[in-house]
Symmetry: C2
Subunit: 196 residues, 2 copies
């Protein structure tokens, strides 16, 4: 009763949505990715910093380079998903603050030091990955986020400038046969929420 | 055209939703928080780790202790929001893996070392904060996430066990008069998304 979005949307975005482990062959188009981005870009980040960057792995050559960096349990699905996205933090996100957070002209200089920039960027890019996963589902697609890979290897293969750090790899597509593992339990409210 | 959720829901969750800076007096009930949790708890985390913990600051005494730790620009709104939540990572999240990720009995021991646990927990709790912000909006409420506070002070005041680390403080309620600052621009698709 407390939620205002309808039950079907609750199911689509959260209750029935699952991390897919197999996919159909149906392509995921650039138009779909653009629609997802144009939705989730509005979700909030500190100082409007928007540090998330997304690399769509579309060529066979890039796909092979990525699969080589994935953990064994993730290689098959990363090799066969219609689209794979490498999501990363741009540790030079502060370069955009003069245009993205114009009412605080000192914002860029406040992040002159990498030691301040990297944790802020990583945290906010992680929030944005949360938004992105919900956005992928809002497009009727399944997301398969993965953490099992050689991060240094991916950074070297795909981010030669040393300014980006991979945070996750996400398979995207329509769920295929046997896409779901059985759902694991969730923590109870009282295990997560306390009141003071 | 690529999105399957309706335009009103897109607006509610993303396009028209904004970070609120003032709130009405209307309370936010435990029932609302429970409904939000029961929605967003399904969103994915690595190994079903669910490291996010939420402290609802309801007593005057706790509110005062929190406001004292907030940056000057955040004190007034943190003091007046109907509900304030401290969201934190439980760095001992691995204790729950035997029940939450039962098909991999070695999961807990794989996180025996804090050096592996803290980055994984912080990343996944940050994803969950992204889900939570969308969930707050799904309940028709506005969220006001803040990063300007003394993190060590909050950890000391509210997490004396040394096992939790604050990641954000979120004001929650119905937007009040003058709740919104003008919306800042967003990065263009081509600034964020590349294809290889």
């Amino acid at each position: 009763m407390s939620l205002v979005i309808d039950a079907a949307t609750q199911d689509l975005l959260f209750r029935e949505a699952r991390t897919a482990n197999t996919f159909t062959d149906e392509p995921v188009t650039d138009e779909q990715v653009q629609a997802i981005y144009d939705l989730v870009k509005y979700a909030p980040t500190a100082m409007n910093s928007q540090p998330l960057r997304i690399v769509l792995v579309r060529s066979d050559e890039a796909r092979e380079r990525l699969v080589n960096q994935m953990g064994d349990g993730n290689k098959a699905k990363t090799g066969s998903a219609p689209l794979v996205a490498i999501v990363a933090v741009d540790t030079d996100f502060h370069e955009h603050l003069p245009t993205q957070f114009p009412h605080y002209p000192g914002a860029k200089d406040a992040f002159a030091e990498e030691d301040a920039r990297i944790p802020t960027g990583s945290f906010n890019a992680s929030l944005q990955i949360g938004y992105l996963i919900i956005g992928i589902r809002a497009a009727g697609l399944a997301a398969g986020p993965m953490a099992g890979y050689d991060a240094e290897g991916i950074n070297k293969e795909f981010f030669g400038d040393g300014k980006h750090r991979v945070l996750a790899v996400i398979n995207i597509g329509r769920p295929g046969e046997g896409a779901w593992f059985p759902r694991n339990p969730r923590l109870e409210y009282d295990q997560v929420v306390t009141t003071v």
